[in-house]
């Protein structure tokens, strides 16, 4: 993730915040995969929405992640 990424208030993300957004993005990408076994897909979706909460609550992003 780029070092100059900003939150919804225009503040540069801290290193911890960058890591949270990065993790969320990676989990979101995994959610889109159709070739993973159910055990991976369902658990990744659960993990993704929890990361979404952290990022959304911290005002790092505000979007619909788009899985069920």
């Amino acid at each position: 993730m780029a070092n100059d990424a900003k939150d919804l208030l225009g503040n540069r993300l801290t290193a911890d915040e960058r890591e949270l957004v990065d993790l969320y993005g990676r989990l979101k990408a995994l959610c889109q995969r159709t070739d993973l076994p159910p055990v991976a897909t369902a658990n990744v979706k659960q993990a993704m929405v929890l990361l979404w909460n952290a990022c959304n609550d911290l005002a790092l992003l505000h979007e619909e992640p788009g899985c069920d």
Binding site: L8, V49, N53, A59, H62, E64, P65, C67
Partner: protein
């Protein structure tokens, strides 16, 4: 600093200076309006009719360009396009939760759907409240509530799991069994409606249990009734249980709580302003009322993706005061005294919405009934009781026992299992009306 030492669930946004909080709300509002416009035909029609497009939302004041959303519109939309209307932004198959609440007319309930993300957000709003009221992972939390199709307390249960508390459900237990388990397990937090928190306290007394001495409860979290912010009721609960009593309030339309009382107990709950915009308006003119004046809550929620909720007329009466009323450091404003009542005739009975028209619709399905009256009373200053008094058509008295039973069942079925008392009156005992019938008597004290 270890995470458990923080007084805030989310220190970054809960303590944001007001100008930054407003900027955050605007950023979220713009995204929400855009999504509602593109994904919800219901909202698109509302905005087109009002001549608003997403690019018109440039400042927070532009919120007022958006038309109001009403429960009546929502119900009509559901009726036109069963089961969920075209309000929803996604296919039903994307949902993982379905909940409902009683409607304004007849038997049609208000139906809501949530995605996995929505449900997780719903849980998170409760986390703001529970953490803010001092509940921590080492707590043992007991839910004295039976979960079902009504959304009440569901999110709170999941919240406690997320916090890492020992989370105890008790849907299958009697009041006595609940009291016993709370004491035996050393439960530290009890969640219930205010009415039920008192009832458990009274039951404990009858069982010879002194909850203050024998129990370890340090927090009672109440929800579902306005009584949770009435000082006299709070004091009774705190005296019985020996712990602080904190109020929360939410609604099915939002899916979760939007206000919670913090550990400082400033006399009302804080608004979770990074997730909601709560306007307080004159219910007749729709104009904003200043701090310290009663008005109607109008809510915009940034959380639920399935159902966009913008400028929703809640008909709840509130009195907003500045956040500085509390010394905790949160910058979310406060509803002094919690939810004060209803703008219209909807009645909240033990956590369930009751509309006179809906009751009438059920009663009128029974042709034997000639006249009826709904009486709401507060028993022992605490428990709300609803009674439907019935006069039968002449000569049908023999049918009463069966009708009484059936009517009680039908009314409960239409109201998430709420118990109605059904009583027989003598011929001519009830008032008759020519115009504007007043069949509802609310005898509860008004605050």
């Amino acid at each position: 600093m270890p995470a458990t030492a923080s007084s805030f669930w989310n220190p970054k946004t809960e303590t944001l200076p007001k100008d930054q909080l407003r900027a955050l709300q605007l950023a979220k509002l713009q995204r929400l309006v855009d999504r509602a416009w593109h994904r919800s035909p219901f909202h698109r029609r509302l905005y087109e009719r009002a001549g608003v497009t997403p690019d018109r939302i440039r400042t927070l004041d532009d919120l007022r360009r958006l038309p109001f959303m009403t429960r009546e519109d929502w119900m009509a939309n559901q009726a036109e396009k069963p089961l969920f209307g075209d309000l929803i932004t996604r296919p039903e198959t994307d949902a993982i939760r379905y909940h409902l609440t009683s409607g304004t007319s007849g038997r049609q309930p208000l139906r809501v759907l949530d995605s996995r993300k929505d449900w997780s957000w719903i849980t998170d709003m409760w986390c703001y409240g529970f953490w803010g009221f001092g509940i921590r992972p080492t707590d043992k939390v007991f839910f004295a509530f039976s979960y079902g199709s009504f959304i009440g307390f569901w999110g709170a249960h999941y919240c406690c799991e997320k916090l890492g508390c020992l989370t105890l459900a008790s849907g299958n237990m009697t009041t006595e069994q609940r009291v016993k388990q709370i004491v035996e397990l050393g439960v530290t937090v009890v969640c219930a409606t205010p009415t039920y928190a008192l009832r458990m306290g009274q039951t404990a007394e009858k069982m010879g249990i002194d909850l203050r001495r024998d129990g370890k409860v340090r927090r009672v979290v109440v929800s579902g009734e306005p009584a949770g912010s009435i000082p006299a009721v709070k004091k009774m609960i705190e005296d019985m249980w020996g712990g602080k009593c904190g109020d929360t309030a939410g609604m099915t339309e939002i899916g979760t709580i939007m206000i919670f009382e913090c550990d400082h107990q400033p006399g009302g709950p804080h608004i979770i302003e990074d997730h909601f915009i709560e306007e307080v308006l004159d219910p007749d003119t729709g104009e904003p009322v200043p701090y310290g004046e009663r008005g109607e809550r109008v809510v915009t929620s940034f959380g639920r993706g399935f159902i966009p909720l913008l400028r929703y007329r809640t008909k709840d009466l509130v009195n907003k005061v500045p956040h500085t009323r509390c010394s905790c450091g949160r910058t979310g404003d406060i509803y002094e005294g919690g939810i004060l009542g209803r703008v219209d005739d909807m009645k909240l009975i033990r956590g369930t919405n009751v509309y006179p028209r809906a009751v009438e619709a059920v009663v009128r399905e029974h042709a034997q009934v000639e006249e009826f009256q709904i009486v709401i009373e507060r028993k022992d200053n605490v428990q709300d009781e609803i009674t439907v008094k019935v006069e039968l058509k002449p000569g049908l008295d023999a049918e009463w026992p069966r009708l009484q039973q059936q009517l009680g069942k039908d009314l409960a079925d239409a109201h998430e299992g709420l118990r109605f008392n059904v009583e027989l009156c003598k011929q001519g005992e009830l008032p008759r009306f020519e115009l504007k019938a007043k069949r509802l008597q609310d005898l509860r004290p008004q605050y």
